[in-house]
Point group: D2
Chain length 120, copies 4
């Protein structure tokens, strides 16, 4: 469960899956970034041409929800594989990036707004 699972333990699972198949040779950063991108598109594809109402209803449809969870998991698996392979600490990277984004999107200026930081 997310409340007691560390990033490290997920990285280990993903690395074991890869090494069981001797796939490290294919897991260079460029192909893993391609993987993150193509998996994220498979997730997005579920919502293509669907209204926001239809999208929300998918989360109450057992089969669609499983599809969404599976595609989201695939994105995460690729991201974990990249960070594991190149010794990137994801927790630190996420925390550091949130701090940078907090500067780009100051609370007072960006509160309630969907403008990009270049338009604020």
């Amino acid at each position: 469960m997310d409340s007691d699972t560390t990033i490290k333990s997920l990285k280990d699972k993903v690395a074991k899956f890869r090494d069981d198949r001797d796939w490290k040779q294919y897991h260079n950063a460029k192909d893993l970034a391609i993987g993150i991108s193509t998996e994220s598109s498979e997730l997005l594809d579920i919502f293509r041409f669907k209204s926001l109402d239809e999208v929300d209803k998918m989360f109450h449809d057992r089969k669609k929800l499983t599809e969404i969870r599976d595609e989201l998991a695939d994105v995460c698996i690729m991201a974990l594989a990249l960070s594991q392979r190149y010794d990137i600490d994801l927790s630190k990277s996420i925390t550091a990036k949130l701090k940078k984004s907090a500067i780009k999107y100051p609370i007072l200026k960006s509160r309630g707004s969907n403008k990009k930081y270049t338009e604020l």
Copy 2:
């Protein structure tokens, strides 16, 4: 650090960032999936037209490495936001998906191969 950071604690950080800015109204699944996809493309864009050697060298260049970490973090932040918003347990989803992938890619058949499961 990844060794002692839970997924839940990262979800909380991302949710706080969003709520501080009153952005929940924009965070529907479709736009978050768009977010995961566009952020993953920004990561991939770093490697466009670069050889695998040039890509590997980027991880020894402090400035490039920060760029890579930042873009990878953005992908993860969007994935955490989506899972937090729609009550998806990422750890369970990842573990479940690895089990499905293990069936699609049996060790004996897929070991050392870069073939897609449809080609195995």
Copy 3:
């Protein structure tokens, strides 16, 4: 103008741009496919977190419209570069694909529906 411009003439322009810069060496199919994908994400990024109303209004905003046209053009330039480089006739490919899609989406079954062909 689109009414009197052939695909071939656009391919020629794109090839000239590439050859003026001696870029053929970088234009392998994989990196060009990355290019098509990352450029299409830059287009999509313009619409991220925007409502359909806000998106439609962008087409009446001179600056936004130019941005949209530029990003769409970048996608096309990469697609033209790939097809030119690998001798793919785009007109024939598009016509052939429309015929296949017409079989996957028969008019009677798919008329007025946003279902994927697997759901029809």
Copy 4:
């Protein structure tokens, strides 16, 4: 054939396909941009984890080549649908964008280089 097919004639074919199915209601710019992006990922996915040699060989494999042509065609169909729906002249947009890119990538500075314009 590309040597005698105008962009306009392809736009017309794509619009007829859409209108035969009464799909204009779903063809807003945001979903069409999603479409361009997800189709381009399907093209890219063909090359994932493949070496440049393996990628080049695909163009001599009849079945793979058809797959590549089909996915590239899907990208173009979505791009044509977007430009047709929102009255964007693709030829003008492409020509205009090439001029802007020529300024960002001056021949003397960028010749033979795979650096991004920000690094030149």
